[in-house]
Symmetry: C2
Subunit: 338 residues, 2 copies
């Protein structure tokens, strides 16, 4: 079993904040990043928790991101908020735009935030769950780097293009999902490589466009989308809505922009919010009951709603007052402290 280190909840964001500010992030950015990492780590989301500090540090060391820049929030339409990150990390821009998004959604019934010119490394579910915590439904999408081939294709064009959605539930954890439209996450292929295991079928192609089960050949080739031509179509939609729609880069452009350097990709993000009160014509209670019956019918047959493992981890970690990370990661993080 892997050795782990316990970190008290209060210390998670302090640790992240200290590492981030020491590496050159200003305190506003460091705070918003630390808050995101805490939120993910609290839910035992190891891939997007404190582990991502490594990518945040790599990104600022690569010299492209501005760790101090103040986002600029403006309106691009009555129900559209532009959150220009101006070359900084996405999170502070989103954080500053969300209160206005809530206001506009309550005013118009539906509204959107377009985050532009941002570096992006984070899970999407914390952002849609901030809106479902306000009683709104929310959907968000981002491109990434062009590692993923379209259905029937031979090379990377699309990003891993995740999409997240959250729906508020009275007195319960929301219905939330957050998934990449690639069949596998890039990191999963790395894990197969490290473990010396062959990939399952349908996950990747080699550099000549042929199906492969070899992690190395996959990393030199391209990943495939989940769900064949349907997942591929959905991924193209995400490129369009979180790219050209909002005057920002596709995954192809973002990959070029990076010029082979590692670190967080640079692109845009779209976030849509829906006011249940207005859409339902004021019939909230009746429709909450409808949604709850749907959820109950899923659970009753032994299926699971998405995110349940995460919610269980959250409850457990809140109760015991600490999270666990691998001691390897802990050592790497300590080396980044002043």
């Amino acid at each position: 079993m892997q050795k782990t280190v316990e970190i008290a909840l209060d210390d998670v964001s302090k640790l992240a904040f200290n590492i981030l500010t020491h590496a050159g992030y200003g305190s506003a950015h460091a705070q918003s990043i630390a808050q995101m990492l805490y939120t993910c780590q609290l839910d035992d989301c190891q891939s997007h928790g404190l582990f991502r500090l490594l990518m945040c540090i790599e990104t600022i060391r690569a010299g492209k991101i501005d760790g101090h820049i103040a986002p600029s929030i403006s309106q691009a339409g009555k129900a559209i908020i532009k959150a220009d990150a101006r070359g900084g990390m996405s999170l502070l821009a989103m954080e500053q735009a969300v209160p206005l998004l809530v206001e506009k959604t309550r005013e118009f019934g539906i509204a959107a935030v377009a985050v532009n010119h941002c570096f992006h490394f984070s899970a999407l579910w914390p952002e849609v769950e901030r809106l479902s915590a306000e009683g709104l439904a929310a959907m968000t999408m981002v491109p990434s780097h062009s590692w993923v081939a379209p259905a029937g294709g031979t090379r990377g064009t699309l990003g891993t293009n995740p999409m997240a959605f959250s729906w508020p539930r009275q007195g319960r954890d929301p219905f939330t999902f957050d998934f990449a439209t690639s069949a596998f996450a890039r990191g999963e292929i790395e894990l197969y490589k490290r473990a010396g295991k062959p990939l399952p079928d349908g996950v990747a192609i080699d550099k000549d466009g042929n199906p492969t089960n070899d992690p190395d050949a996959a990393l030199a080739g391209a990943m495939l989308t989940f769900g064949g031509y349907k997942g591929s179509a959905l991924s193209v939609m995400i490129e369009l809505l979180a790219g050209p729609l909002i005057d920002d880069m596709t995954s192809l452009e973002s990959m070029e922009f990076a010029q082979g350097k590692s670190g967080a990709p640079y692109h845009g993000q779209i976030l849509l919010a829906f006011d249940l009160e207005q859409f339902s014509g004021g019939q909230l209670a009746r429709n909450e009951a409808r949604a709850e019956r749907l959820f109950a019918d899923i659970i009753d047959q032994g299926a699971r709603l998405p995110s349940q493992r995460r919610f269980a981890a959250r409850a457990r970690n809140l109760k015991r007052g600490f999270v666990e990370i691998s001691s390897g990661l802990y050592d790497d993080l300590c080396a980044l402290l002043p």
Copy 2:
């Protein structure tokens, strides 16, 4: 080879209109349905063209639909239009709401139509393509009947829950997709049954929740979603956005409402529209170029954009001035004429 009958383009909607009015639909509904069937038939979309007249007739004969009712169009929020079909077919309500949706989208940047209390039988792509023809991007979703099991489940809870999206392209056919979130359409399973062929893996489960390749067992059991747990999560999102969000039925409720009768399902529909001009901050040309580069990169590697077969059929049929349907269907339709 199947025998076919040629029908002149001008005669397609006349034939449909005559059959519909003879069966009891008022002329406003008959016109909107005939227009939809023409649009689908023109693109050789056989499953949603004139063939669907049979379902329209079955629906009115079942005595549930009102063939004469006038939809009621109102606003549920500044950017939300309620199109109450009042127990009629969805199409007339949507047709009457779309001009207002275009107006509201241009005013607010993003807007939505909620169609309520409608019977629904049609393909979704013609509705999103009406908006992309206006230069807007559009997304629509509907529930259906609870024939589809959630990931990890043993029985039907979700509908086939299709989703369609269209993105306008200058001087070209739009980027459009329209797919069911079930792995197979219900009709496809019927086709396997008739052909005596086993279903592929991953398409259906039997009434005890076990995987099956037997079409009969599948029809008595449940279908599966495309793309495993991701497709399943997406399908639940569609239930929520096109059901409880808009004060309308889930697929479970719609199935109960039908009380085992065949014909078009009764539920709601959501349609979202996005103003490219406002979202892009007026940078339309630059972002059209971005989207075109993405499409070109997909095509250059030998992959296809969705809907290309349909667009090719449209061009051919417009040129030759007629469509072809099977002579079996033609005979069935003639029997429905006065």
